[in-house]
């Protein structure tokens, strides 16, 4: 904390979406899924009870990374892949701030994969929004680390050969304490998921299926289009049996041999369904749920996969500083310089 920032005791003023929108013209392609995500965030912010000046959006590079320019908060548009590292330093230095990271599938999972996994395992207090459109947009259409196998793009005219990452699986493997998925066609679901992520103490990873209507149009249409959603999205609700489909006719069971799999509820009975528990200490079941769909063309879970309490890194770092100050007193520079052997001439 610096002595230049005076804590304000006044109540947080009521704001509207407009207060959280900057004066900059939004420059994504018309029809881009990023618009609806921006709207969801700008609509949510007035509900969070925080001040604009205490909020910082940090981004790397890519289409999604333009996000901070459109928020009337503090913001930093930084380097490809490095936003989690930069945000970590900011969050450690300034635990009073609300730090968001906006990233894409290339930014977070390719060039910045290392920073993402370490930010997640440390559990530093940053909210990471990962816009996954399964394509490189800003560089105009190369395959990304989440593109499906065999993807034909400018850089893979004969089809991509790389096994894609599943961002939820990656985050769970990286010891993340909060992992969720939402999509750009459902504002209410986005807002609710972002709110939970914001309220979580520690690093959070929210994957947002986001349509790139120029380079990868319809990538998620098979599961997010209104007419198919009921059958193709599997909502995860804490404490409830996992059911989906019109009339909730389908559900998810945990098969000891095959992991999570989809069943007709009528065949197994409701009691056989897996009851979703986002707070399970072991991430194993959440991981199995993350493998339920092999891609966004099969019934796909959305919602909060995992939300567990663990020591928040920044608080722990600052607790060590406070403990040292309490135990040894404020540092005395003159004494420090004399802490080794000294002699007089």
């Amino acid at each position: 904390m610096t002595d230049t920032i005076t804590p304000v005791d006044d109540p947080v003023p009521a704001t509207t979406r407009k207060d959280w929108s900057s004066d900059q013209e939004v420059r994504w392609c018309p029809g881009c899924g990023d618009y609806s995500i921006l709207a969801a965030v700008q609509l949510l912010m007035p509900e969070l009870g925080i001040r604009r000046e205490d909020t910082v959006f940090v981004s790397g590079i890519g289409c999604a990374a333009r996000f901070p320019y459109y928020m009337n908060t503090y913001g930093m548009h930084t380097i490809h892949g490095r936003a989690p590292a930069i945000a970590t330093g900011l969050a450690l230095a300034r635990p009073d701030l609300h730090v968001f990271v906006v990233s894409g599938d290339g930014d977070a999972l390719s060039i910045g994969g290392n920073h993402l996994i370490h930010a997640l395992r440390r559990n530093v207090n940053i909210t990471i929004l990962l816009f996954n459109n399964q394509i490189y947009g800003l560089t105009k259409g190369q395959y990304s680390p989440t593109s499906e196998l065999g993807k034909v793009t400018k850089s893979t005219p004969f089809g991509s050969l790389d096994q894609p990452f599943n961002p939820i699986s990656v985050a769970l493997g990286a010891e993340a304490t909060f992992v969720a998925r939402t999509h750009d066609m459902d504002r209410q679901h986005m807002m609710e998921t972002f709110r939970r992520a914001f309220e979580h103490k520690g690093s959070t990873l929210v994957e947002i299926y986001q349509n790139c209507n120029v380079f990868n149009d319809g990538a998620f249409g098979a599961i997010t289009a209104k007419q198919v959603r009921d059958d193709m999205l599997v909502p995860l609700r804490h404490g409830e049996p996992i059911r989906f489909g019109v009339d909730g006719s389908k559900g998810v069971v945990l098969d000891p041999q095959k992991g999570a799999r989809i069943v007709e509820v009528a065949d197994v009975g409701e009691d056989a369904l897996l009851v979703h528990d986002e707070a399970r200490p072991d991430p194993g079941v959440a991981f199995m749920l993350s493998r339920l769909a092999r891609g966004p063309h099969e019934p796909t879970p959305i919602g909060i996969f995992r939300a567990v309490e663990r020591q928040e890194y920044g608080a722990a770092v600052n607790a060590q500083v406070e403990a040292a100050r309490a135990e040894r007193g404020e540092g005395d520079l003159a004494a420090l310089l004399r802490s080794g052997a000294t002699w007089d001439v």
């Binding site: 320019y69 380097i79 930069i86 330093g89 230095a93 100050r325």
Partner: protein, 600 residues
């Protein structure tokens, strides 16, 4: 061996000698003992007069095994004393060190006074009665050697014994063994007839005051803490372990009560990234590294140049390229510091000249970074990092005030009367931009790596604006020169035939060489540069004042290349890239060669 060398150094400082040290150890943590690659050496130069280098040829060499003898004997002049641990000179060890004949028997050491001391067996004899296992007993033999040399140079005994107590406090048996070995070595020196009389080095005549003994890395860490206190900004270090910079991370991590946060990042990039994030939040952001890490940090330095945020980048140079010589010294990162970023990305560069000077340089680096809102590169090197010297402790009250003002009010009113904060509306004098910290009401703004409009800071692709911004960023850094003191010329200021220009850790050797050349009747002057970008304002005029300009550097001529380009002077290079510092004798010879025209 490094530990005992260090202790001998401290003992010498305590009796008031001036001193300089040169640790020289392998990069491997446990290099095979007895091999040439595994030799761990520690050179210390003690003197009763002011000295500025670890010395040229040592007058005493202690060799614990044949490999140590073989690797170090060439550094010792004829006539010197060589003490060997005779117990280690068996056939197997001789072969391992590459000797086909025993050098103690074949006459190859005839030019030296050789003392053969059975250190291993005497150490075992001294410590085994304590119940120490034979294998562990042998480990105390370095303390036998320390005791022996302490006697030879009349170093105080009691404080070393106290130090052993503290250093190994958790292992009482090790304390007892090391003390017994130390005393045995001391007693051996005293009673054996090998040494006629102890060597007594009188205290140096140093300016009066309180002294301590510091390594460059410790002084640098303390300088960073001082800069934090002087600026009122919490210190944040983002760093990734790398030799020889890690000791700064270690030292700072001990001092959390100074409101210091140290963050061991997942890699070099995250280290500087976190430091930059902390700087944006109003901390004094610092990252520490060495050569390979500098390459990885380059992109973030470029971002810091574009964001115009204060940031300290500390490079403890080592032998390169690539992994190079991790534990050896070099000065070959200067041109990288100057130019190693894409685009036009100027930033200030400063260098420390001695271990204790690292303290002052850290404070100066912070002053430049905070005043001009810019990343600053501070160059030290392996020699300064691990070397020690007595340091006249500064008066804390004499240190500069580094507080800066952060913006608290809007600084722009648009045509409709609406007020806002323009992050790039510069101070007309310094061209520094205003800094508004997150948390400051009404000054919300966005910054980023895209080119921005001067003033408003909005993203701007206009060609003319970009050119103006490139020029403004360059002018801002160049303009720092107006604020720098003139460089001081030492030696024969008015009459020198040759000017020696140095930077960084070559200072001690240059100082010694110039003194020797002048003592021999030559007219020589010297300047030593702390500010390498921008240069001190009078440097060009100084360079043109002297007929010859000589630039010694532990690289192939990086500063001389810059001086030639910048000032059109015929600067000549004296180069050495062996992972070792210059000796004063080498530079004295180079000065004479250039003066007499042997080299020109």
């Amino acid at each position: 061996m490094q530990l005992t060398g260090d202790r001998f150094t401290t003992s010498s400082a305590l009796v008031g000698n001036d001193l300089a040290t040169l640790p020289d150890f392998p990069a491997e943590i446990r290099a095979p003992a007895g091999t040439l690659a595994g030799v761990s050496a520690f050179q210390v130069h003690i003197s009763d007069h002011d000295i500025t280098t670890p010395g040229d040829a040592p007058t005493v060499l202690v060799a614990m095994n044949p490999a140590a003898l073989r690797s170090q004997i060439d550094r010792v002049d004829a006539g010197a004393t060589v003490i060997v641990n005779i117990d280690a000179f068996d056939d197997r060890s001789l072969t391992k060190a590459g000797y086909s004949e025993n050098p103690l028997r074949d006459g190859s050491l005839d030019a030296y006074t050789v003392f053969e001391v059975p250190m291993t067996s005497l150490t075992k004899g001294a410590v085994e009665p304590l119940g120490v296992k034979p294998r562990d007993a042998e480990r105390s033999k370095n303390f036998f050697a320390l005791g022996l040399v302490s006697w030879m140079y009349t170093r105080p005994v009691d404080r070393t014994l106290e130090w052993i107590d503290k250093r190994f406090a958790s292992k009482p048996l090790v304390v007892a063994a090391n003390k017994a070995a130390f005393k045995a070595g001391h007693a051996f020196g005293e009673t054996a007839e090998l040494f006629d009389h102890p060597y007594d080095v009188k205290p140096a005549k140093l300016p009066s005051g309180t002294y301590t003994n510091v390594t460059g890395n410790t002084a640098l860490a303390w300088g960073l803490i001082a800069a934090s206190q002087l600026s009122g900004l919490p210190l944040f270090l983002g760093s990734y372990p790398i030799t020889p910079a890690s000791d700064i991370l270690h030292e700072l991590s001990k001092h959390k009560n100074f409101n210091v946060r140290t963050f061991q990042a997942e890699d070099e990039i995250a280290g500087i990234g976190a430091a930059l994030g902390a700087a944006y939040g109003g901390n004094l952001g610092v990252t520490t590294t060495s050569g390979p890490g500098m390459a990885l940090k380059a992109e973030t330095m470029g971002l810091a140049v574009s964001l115009e945020l204060p940031l300290l980048v500390i490079d403890i140079q080592r032998g390169g390229p690539s992994t190079g010589l991790p534990t050896k010294t070099e000065q070959a990162d200067l041109l990288m510091a100057l130019h190693g970023r894409h685009g036009e990305a100027p930033l200030p560069i400063i260098a420390a000249k001695s271990p204790s000077h690292c303290f002052e340089v850290a404070i100066e680096a912070a002053r430049l970074a905070l005043t001009w809102r810019t990343p600053v590169i501070l160059l030290s090197d392996g020699y300064l990092a691990n070397g020690t010297e007595p340091w006249l402790l500064p008066d804390i009250d004499s240190l500069p005030d580094l507080h800066i003002e952060f913006a608290t009010e809007p600084n722009h009113t648009d045509e409709n009367g609406a007020q806002s904060f323009w992050p790039y509306l510069r101070d007309p004098e310094t061209l520094a931009r205003p800094l508004a910290l997150p948390g400051t009401p009404d000054l919300m703004h966005r910054i980023g790596g895209l080119e921005k409009t001067d003033g408003s800071g909005n993203v701007d692709y206009d060609p003319v604006n970009h050119e103006r911004m490139v020029e403004v960023r360059a002018a801002k850094i160049a303009g720092i020169a107006k604020d720098l003191p003139d460089v001081e010329v030492s030696g024969d200021v008015d009459s020198a035939d040759l000017l020696v220009v140095g930077w960084g850790s070559t200072w001690g050797a240059i100082d010694g060489a110039v003194a020797r050349a002048r003592a021999a009747g030559h007219k020589v002057a010297a300047v030593h540069l702390m500010h390498l970008n921008p240069f001190p304002p009078n440097l060009g005029e100084v360079l043109k004042r002297y007929p010859k300009v000589l630039v010694p550097e532990l690289n192939l001529g990086q500063l001389s290349r810059v001086l030639r380009a910048e000032f059109l002077v015929d600067a000549k290079t004296v180069s050495k890239v062996r992972g070792l510092p210059f000796t004063a004798a080498e530079l004295e010879q180079a000065i004479l060669d250039h003066l007499t025209g042997v080299l020109s």
